[in-house]
């Protein structure tokens, strides 16, 4: 990481702004991106009006980065939190990766933003000390001012010009010790809530650029279907329809407004070539089950116990469906507005579609109504670029909910063969995990190694091995919150619970027995904390029970206990959920709690029946009616305990942390409630 400093003129303000630029490489970057990232990708501007503007190459998808990143800077810069404004950067090739994924935003910027803030603070102190003719050591900074016991105080705004003349490498930069933190680790409400509750926050869907036409696309009714012929006479006759254009993804209707476009789309008569009418997820399920690798050799010396598990296909279904606005101009420039987790993808698609160089393409990153992994590949932006190239006007492409569900990049299904050798007391002394699934077709370069690395987080002291088999999916596959951890971890945890119940052992105690080493202490403590919070009881077969699930991932630890009932009339109901998380350094406890609750709601929804199925060549589900996400009447009380580890523990990720462990906890509770070991997810009403 490197930090440089400069001055920028600000209209009507003497002295201008003080600008710090920071070059940050992060774990999500490829080697070439890391090298490119010596160009600054984070900008901090101290403006003459006392506002500090922070520009970051990350997307706000609801995870609260605009709040947490402002906290990091405000703390070390020693300015009031309310004076920091976070701006989401437009895509810029010099920034390196602008991807928001992998629970990495805070992890990748935790040190750089604090160090940048501390550098600016040191420079401002040096400037004040010089003006006062005192030693910098006798000054300190607080609330956007430099203070001296005798000389009084100078606001940062009065020091910007002087500060800009100081070489930051000549001042001593010291990060604040944790006991001096005033902002980090304390509950901080979100900066954007006022705009949300007044309807003022403009998402990509809400853009109002004059002259914009709206397009919706009639998409293939079955997988890989292509347009054979179109009769668009009725659609074109609708007043307000400007054009009907066949594009690779279907037939687009372009109109002056959304209602007109939707009405006209329904009037299209399209004949499709449908090569994949036989695609059926039941066939894939059988292939996956057959492909899940068996152990080649099982050690002798104990009882061999085995089980198999199935994990479903899923759609991300963000609340705001995919959409993007593009303007392909005659002067060769292309401007795109999109709420993307990965704006580089929109640029790359625009380059491929128009043949124009990436330097002529601007991507504005909009706030977006949820991502969950579903906004990494910007097919809507590609469509908007294609259509704007035809109309010459700005075009917004809107996907309907049905489009978003039936044409999603599905989280692949998987099958898991688990084998354990148990000693005389029922403790597993060897394990085998055979996984069959399929890579993410959107990232063909991510192969078996990626799947194993992403899925493998077995934290317990049981030697053994994991083997992977690939088995082609009948549809395109993509990211979903927690990615392969959401399959591997529930399978392993369900199996461990089944191992415990096999000999009447307590599933929670068995986990503690397998976490005796010092490097397992953080997870062990989460289990102990959650057991106490939930008043853990191991009762089997009464219709209501508790289950536990754990994970060590993203640099964090989590243990979850679910209290669940299963009945013929009420189905699967999660009554209470207890979560203990150790995320290393806590930036914003309110944010941690929100992310944990959100991912837990995902898990409960999936456990209770949200899943995709393919019949006769198409995804069957199309909306929240048949792909049911949890609603208020099934929402359990979720109690989140934050476990604080020692001083030297680095900051961990939280966005994806709670999903796998909650799925496991609910499954363990279903096992306890019913006395029957689950064989996969969803736990009730599973369809292949």
């Amino acid at each position: 990481m490197t930090i440089t400093m400069s001055r920028r003129a600000v209209l009507g303000a003497a002295g201008g702004a003080l600008v710090l630029t920071v070059s940050v490489a992060d774990e999500a970057m490829s080697m070439s991106e890391r090298q490119a990232s010596f160009t600054p990708n984070v900008y901090i501007e101290l403006l003459p009006d006392g506002v500090t503007q922070l520009t970051v190459p990350r997307t706000e998808i609801g995870q609260g980065v605009r709040t947490s990143l402002a906290m990091l800077l405000a703390e070390e810069l020693a300015v009031p939190f309310s004076t920091v404004r976070v701006r989401i950067a437009d895509l810029d090739v010099r920034y390196g990766s602008q991807m928001t994924a992998g629970s990495l935003s805070v992890r990748s910027l935790f040190d750089p933003l604090r160090r940048a803030g501390a550098t600016a603070r040191a420079v401002l102190i040096a400037a004040a000390a010089r003006r006062w003719g005192v030693s910098p050591d006798s000054c300190y900074a607080v609330d956007g001012q430099v203070r001296h016991p005798q000389r009084g105080s100078l606001p940062y705004q009065s020091l910007l010009a002087e500060a800009a003349t100081i070489d930051p490498s000549t001042v001593p930069v010291r990060l604040l010790p944790r006991e001096q933190w005033r902002i980090l680790g304390r509950p901080q409400r979100r900066v954007d809530t006022h705009d949300v509750v007044t309807g003022a926050l403009r998402y990509g869907m809400d853009l109002q650029i004059p002259g914009t036409l709206v397009a919706v696309v009639a998409r293939p009714p079955t997988l890989d279907a292509t347009v054979a012929s179109v009769d668009d006479r009725a659609a074109r006759a609708v007043p307000g329809v400007r054009n009907v254009v066949t594009i690779p993804s279907g037939v687009a209707v372009i109109a002056t407004d959304t209602a007109t476009a939707l009405r006209a789309r329904d009037l299209l008569t399209i004949t499709w070539n449908q090569p994949r009418l036989n695609a059926d997820s039941r066939t894939w399920r059988q292939e996956l089950m057959a492909a899940a690798p068996e152990p080649t050799q099982i050690p002798s010396g104990g009882e061999v116990f085995r089980a198999t598990y199935q994990m479903p296909m899923l759609a991300c279904s963000p609340m705001e469906p995919s959409n993007a606005t593009a303007h392909v101009r005659p002067d060769g420039t292309v401007e795109i507005w999109t709420g993307s987790q990965n704006p580089a993808d929109a640029r790359d698609r625009a380059v491929a579609t128009t043949g124009r160089p990436s330097s002529r393409i601007t991507v504005h990153v909009m706030p977006t109504g949820g991502g969950f992994g579903g906004k990494l590949f910007d097919r809507a932006a590609e469509e908007a670029v294609r259509l704007s190239a035809v109309t010459g006007t700005p075009v917004r492409v809107m996907w309907t909910r049905q489009d978003e569900t039936r044409h999603c990049l599905a989280r692949p299904a998987s099958a898991h063969t688990m084998v354990a050798v148990l000693d005389g007391s029922g403790t597993p002394i060897w394990r085998h995990h055979g996984v069959a699934t399929w890579p993410l077709t959107v990232m063909p370069f991510l192969n078996e190694q990626f799947i194993l690395q992403d899925g493998n987080h077995f934290p317990y002291s049981v030697p053994g091995n994991v083997r992977l088999a690939l088995c082609p999916a009948p549809l395109p596959t993509g990211f979903f919150r927690s990615v392969y951890s959401g399959q591997f971890v529930p399978a392993e945890e369900l199996f461990l619970t089944a191992v415990a119940h096999r000999r009447g052992r307590d599933p929670l105690q068995l986990r503690l027995d397998l976490l005796r080493n010092s490097e397992q202490a953080r997870l062990r403590r989460c289990i102990e904390e959650v057991a106490e919070a939930a008043v853990w009881r191991n009762v089997v077969g009464t219709g209501r029970g508790m289950g536990i699930g754990c994970m060590d991932n993203y640099g964090s630890r989590i243990a979850v206990i679910a209290d669940v009932s299963v009945s013929p009339t009420d189905g699967l109901r999660v009554h209470r959920l207890f979560v203990a998380v150790d995320v290393g350094v806590v930036v914003n406890p309110l944010g941690v709690e929100a992310q944990v609750q959100g991912a837990a709601v995902d898990a409960i929804s999936i456990a209770a029946g949200a899943q995709l199925t393919v019949r006769q060549g198409a995804i069957e589900q199309s909306s929240f009616r048949d792909y049911p996400w949890l609603r208020m009447d099934r929402m359990p009380e979720i109690q989140v305990t934050i476990v604080e580890p020692g001083e030297s523990t680095p900051v961990g990720g939280v966005g994806e942390l709670a999903l796998p462990a909650t799925l496991a906890a609910v499954g363990g509770a279903v096992h306890a409630a019913t006395g029957v070991a689950p064989t996969g997810i969803p736990y009730l009403n599973r369809r292949d």
């Binding site: 998808i61 959304t258 209602a259 977006t368 909306s623």
Partner: protein
């Protein structure tokens, strides 16, 4: 055609069967009500018609009649309606996309039932999907809004 939206009489030129959602968003520039599903299944577009919550994506322009329509933009001048205050105090939104619908549904709930129980809240709000899973804070915020409204009376 003229309709009443947020205490103003506005002229709209659109076919009778146009869903109110698109009249509000595309014709009147009121983008607070959101498109989530278009079939009345998620509640993101919920606004009030004569104080009652309606799914504007499945209510046509013709069905509006003389009734006053209130969108999130018309709820208060400064974002200080008790429900909005409670949402801010309890830090409810994550992505925020569904929250206009959650808030408008809550406004109608509190108007007919100033002190709802958890069961009342479940019944009133179970039509509103929050894909981020903010339900626990929504529930707390509904109770808090009831308190704030009581204090204002």
């Amino acid at each position: 055609m003229q309709i009443r939206v947020n205490r103003r009489l506005v002229e709209v030129s659109a076919p009778d069967d146009t869903p109110l959602l698109w009249v509000l968003r595309d014709h009147l520039g009121l983008t607070g009500p959101k498109y989530g599903c278009g079939i009345g299944a998620c509640g993101a577009c919920t606004s009030l018609r004569a104080g009652q919550p309606i799914r504007t994506c499945v209510v046509s322009l013709a069905e509006v009649g003389d009734a006053e329509i209130t969108t999130i933009e018309g709820l208060s001048d400064n974002g200080d309606h008790p429900v909005q205050q409670a949402w801010k105090e309890l830090d409810v939104p994550q992505c925020g996309y569904c929250q206009a619908g959650q808030i408008m549904t809550t406004v109608a709930l509190l108007a007919r039932n100033p002190h709802p129980t958890d069961e009342d809240i479940d019944e009133a709000l179970s039509g509103q999907v929050c894909r981020c899973g903010t339900y626990q804070r929504i529930r707390a915020a509904v109770h808090r809004a009831a308190e704030l409204a009581e204090e204002e009376r």
